[in-house]
Amino acid sequence: MSRPISLTLRIWRQDAPQAPGAFHSYRLEQVSTDLSLLEVLDLLNEQLISAGERPVQFEHDCREGICGSCGFLVNGQAHGPRAATSVCQLYLRQFADGATLTLEPWRARAFPLIQDLAVDRAALDRLLSAGGYCSVNVGQAPDANAILVGRDQALSAFDTATCIGCGACVASCRNASASLFVAAKLAHLAQLPQGQPERRRRAAALQAAMQVEGFGSCSSNLECEAVCPKQISADWISWMQRESR
């Protein structure tokens, strides 16, 4: 079970968007493998604060892989080495004693850096604002059972709706494309009868917004699918290309 290990964290430190940044190394001795990587950052931050230094800035909140707040590169991999896992669910037992972990922020033009490992992902919400919804007001809804939705169809829609908006797909694409994020939202709504009336308009609007926000085109190397903590299939990107014709 638990065994203490030593770790070196090489962390990208950058005070502000315009300030120069650099890697700083921190050595941690005898940390329990029952801790998550974020808890090790908590530990490091307590030490830095007591020593009068600025703690490392990183995004986090629910720490159970559902809010989508956390995310950075661990040794070059978005969310680290474990598949289907956001970085908050990455535990130290994953790593060997004496390992060095390099932690870097998401790097994409559409995600300006805030500080250290935190970036601004508001562009993803602006993509959704462009049409990632069903235009229905409270009070207008028909009976929920009035429109039938097949079981498998609902499950498939769910699988695409499960995207947590963490931005790992963007960060791991060499074109910093948001194709998987956009395709997932389009597929979620296009697979349900409720999404049909706006289907064409939505597909065109979201893809246009993607360009405006500075995301690139799909690079076709499918790293997005490999790093997605919710395992959303990149097949939806090819589906999206057909959808917008």
């Binding site: 029952d34 809010c67 989508g68 805030i114 207008q140 039938l148 769910f158 409720q194």
Partner: protein, 639 residues
Amino acid sequence: MAGLPDARLPAGPIAGAWRRTREELPLVSPLRKRQLRVLVVGTGLAGASAAATLAEQGYRVTVLSYHDSPRRAHSVAAQGGINAARDNAGDGDSISRLFADTLRGGDFRAREAGCMRLAELSSAIIDQAVAQGVPFAREYGGMLATRSFGGALVSRTFYARGQTGQQLLYGATQALLRQVAAGRITLLCRRDLVELITVDGVARGAVARNLLTGELEVHTAQAVLLATGGYSNVYFLSTNALKSNASAIWRAHRQGALFANPCFTQIHPTCIPSGDPGQSKLTLMSESLRNDGRLWVPAAAGDRRDPAQIPEAERDYFLERLYPRYANMAPRDLASRRARERCNAGHGVGPGGRSVYLDLRDAIAEQGLEPIAQRYGNLLEMYERITGDDPTTTPLRIYPAPHYTMGGLWVDYQLMSSIPGLFVLGEANFSEHGANRLGASALMQGLADGMFIAPATVTAWLAGYPTPEIAADHPACREARARAQARIDALLAVQGARPVDAFHRELGALMIERCGISRDGEGLRAGLAELAALEQRFQVEVRVPGPASGPNPELEKGLRLADFFGLAQLMLRDALAREESCGAHFREEHQSADGEARRDDARFAHIAAWEHRGDGTEPLRHAEPLAFTALQPSARSYR
């Protein structure tokens, strides 16, 4: 403030009372709506749906969220489902049954009119969510699927795998973003509410701290809605997201909003226990595991053998022994209390003896591994990821964890707090859940408040108060901003040696011990003294690194923890004053010979509403009596 305001409860029979009330609420003309501004704080289910609905009706809405995106609000983490009285399974469910389950589940410490309204609105929530594109689970024929949950004999819980909260929240936040695109909502992310602005005792706006620049911003409005969630993070280790905080409701409380039933906090029995002192949160394992898992501890105290080495005769299946009828499916509060009792008696397992086994062995032997893995696959994977143990070969270790707070700001039937113009929605208010919330009812309440109730009652408020928005440099705004600035300056000036988290951990340990699953008068009084000492140390020993400008998560934590200290004191006082056991509030002194809770309807069939009377003066406890006409209080029994 002079006493308790009128709760504005409806007259006549409670069935249909909301419809009757609504028909009499005044309206606002479409033209005038465009000139009125509403401030919504929080973007969980309650806040996002209220903001979207008010904007759909034509109001100008400003929305504040501490997250970088509204989609990250903690509603996202709700797993199980949402209740609705639709008789979807043909098993005889009805509005009156959902009403009765809610009132009974809350151990008769909620207003019956509120519970009835919730049951009446529940079905329309599902309609609206489906129209928004929420992919609920379906039967092969295309109809909505349901499952059953604790505390109910019918199948009325609608769900989307184990991520119902996420899917409902995305429906609500997408509706919100649609209004952002339409120009009716101004969405301001990364803002923490640090003060409420009142003029002549009426809510007129809030001061928010911009978490990127550190700037203190004034946001004025003609009505203020707080939908900022609960306060389980008082306990440090809880199932809540780490930044979930009580600052908005606590700041409002200090400005005059009454705080109701602060000691009603729910501890969920099946969570992954704490191990290392550096652990930052407790992860919930759905209570559905109790359908197939058997809870046990070694029969002999101090037995440290590997579970596989402990023969059947030396195991104590304590829930089966104590509650033969409900066995491992006993309600949340009983399961939690009994698990703690066993651990305190030295039977606990794992690090520090602070957990019990939940064993799937017999279910796997009976049904085979495949069906169990299929039923609980994602849960078992999550458990393995966090603990490194394989739960199909060794029993899971679980322990109760703070999960939900039934207490919150006091509101009347129209969801308005004791500060006129200040509305409180979702978990942030003291809610219809009484002393104990049923599973799958939190999402229902958040959306009922946000989609249907607040839009109607806020409109009624705005119709009656034709006051213009105050200017951002109004003396009340300047004064509120100065109050916030002074707190920030004071915190940064301490420059002690210990980080905020170290104090928060201590506060959590104190509160779970003194005001957790089980409470007693002596412990609560000791807790008050310990708390005062800890807060004093915090004020001289804490180190919050500067500066006040730019991103500074430690300053956010410090401000939040300072508010938790105040709230923790109120929780202890409330638990001390409530000399009975009801729902999640168990007082050792008030139990039967066989250890069951003893409610005292003669003295405590009321809502406790606390009034802040300034620092250094004891808060005043008001009591709003509860009347029951539709269902008479009965004792809970699960033996």
